[in-house]
Symmetry: C2
Subunit: 274 residues, 2 copies
């Protein structure tokens, strides 16, 4: 495989990290012994100040970004909150985010019980209320050549996906340049890690493009809109509710992006056909 030009990346996967994959011995179709690389999957319990919020099943890398991004995307951490510290204990699989503001989400955590399992990725109930008032800025434009360039670069970037499969990737991009590439066994985690990275490094969303290997479900659309990124691209397909929510918020939704093919089902005005 021809490896992508990695010079535009601020962060990209490290498939050689020993904690992210295991080797398992098995047998193949001919009964021969084979060694197979498999992705790891471990618990991470997130605390906000003194309160236990959730246990995520995750690849395990970038716990700080994951915790921050999860709390942001659940509206528990506000964009203007001052984070005074993030403590990660690898052995206990716990990460504690501390803020200047005193927080108490007991009511919200109760509400999650009633909406749990929801594929909108919002364990907690009030996300949809906030979403209904959101509208993305119209200014950004993307030439369709950038869709091809991004797909090609991302697909040729060394990754845990190439090594072990069974993993999703999300990439924050600007124009035709990938910037931050995160992977996780759960794609809701991969997108949350990027949200955490953007928050920590003060990256503006309005001129960015979001690429995901996974399907364009309601969950991915809601999170992309919450992060105020106006363009979402996937090599995978759509769900009807994902499309409806994208139209509602004015998100450009590009799916089935493979080689020189794609379909845009919402916000096509941001794409510039040459």
């Amino acid at each position: 495989m021809k490896v992508a030009d990695l010079s535009s990346y601020l962060l990209y996967p490290n498939p050689e990290h020993p904690a992210l994959t295991d080797q398992v011995i098995g047998k193949d179709q001919d009964g021969n012994e084979v060694s197979v690389d498999v992705v790891t999957e471990r618990g991470l319990t997130v605390y906000l100040n003194r309160q236990e919020i959730v246990t995520l099943m995750t690849l395990g890398d970038h716990p700080h970004y994951l915790a921050l991004g999860f709390l942001l995307n659940q509206n528990m951490l506000r964009p203007d909150d001052v984070v005074t510290g993030i403590d990660y204990d690898e052995e206990l699989e716990v990460v504690i985010v501390r803020t200047e503001r005193a927080t108490n989400y007991e009511d919200k955590l109760k509400k999650k019980v009633r909406t749990s399992g929801c594929a909108q990725g919002t364990v907690f109930g009030d996300i949809m209320e906030k979403f209904d008032g959101m509208q993305l800025a119209d200014a950004s434009r993307l030439p369709i050549s950038a869709i091809y360039a991004l797909s090609k670069q991302i697909n040729t970037t060394p990754s845990i996906y190439h090594k072990a499969g069974a993993i999703h990737g999300c990439v924050l991009c600007e124009g035709d340049k990938p910037l931050v590439y995160m992977e996780d066994v759960g794609r809701h985690n991969a997108i949350d890690k990027i949200a955490g990275y953007m928050y920590q490094h003060g990256i503006e969303p309005q001129d960015k493009v979001f690429y995901t290997t996974g399907r364009l479900t309601s969950e991915m659309v809601i999170k992309t809109v919450q992060m105020q990124i106006p363009i979402l691209i996937s090599r995978s397909g759509f769900t009807a509710w994902g499309v409806a929510l994208a139209k509602q918020a004015g998100l450009t939704l590009v799916g089935r992006a493979k080689g020189r093919n794609f379909v845009v089902l919402s916000g096509e005005e941001r794409l510039v056909y040459s």
Copy 2:
């Protein structure tokens, strides 16, 4: 596409059902208008007797089986419970399962773990405690020719996947015969629908084989073991924890099953190489 022999099926997908896909108008890479089939995704709130348990995001078919299977796989409905009624209100998107036994899972509802499925699943906290005591019976055997036959039949069965993509499939099989094929936007829903079907129709698990299009994560392994099905096959890959849990419970775990290739990483003694 050559269509599979459907004679062995008790139930298989109906891709022509108007409620399960929508047509959305968009543009393709050349700026031409295209009509795209997309899967629907809707809420279903599950009650057990008077208690609201969860809201699932689902394709929307087979709500009775989904509710039953969800409650069974969360250990909220016991295999020996007498179900006195299942009421489904399509307009309210609510399904109520009523049992002879009085139920109250308030404590259980407080403890939740988000799992790493594509569309996220939810596992309540005490599942792992129960799992730790489980061991699958060793008796069943499967010739490897059945793996090829099942893959071929399932992949050529008309499905919403073929029509619209962006969906997962789970198939209950016996030997080289597929029996019950369920699809859903969340694969945890597809497996729960099969659990509900098996419960409702009194189908024994010990001589069955479970096939999934999705990854072999911890969640899929835990549910297959809970359902006491000894063999799990996927065309997709593995996670390390999925493999570890399969070994612990003695589950035969076959992944990357494509064409004449596969890898078995646990319980290979049940496979018969010819």
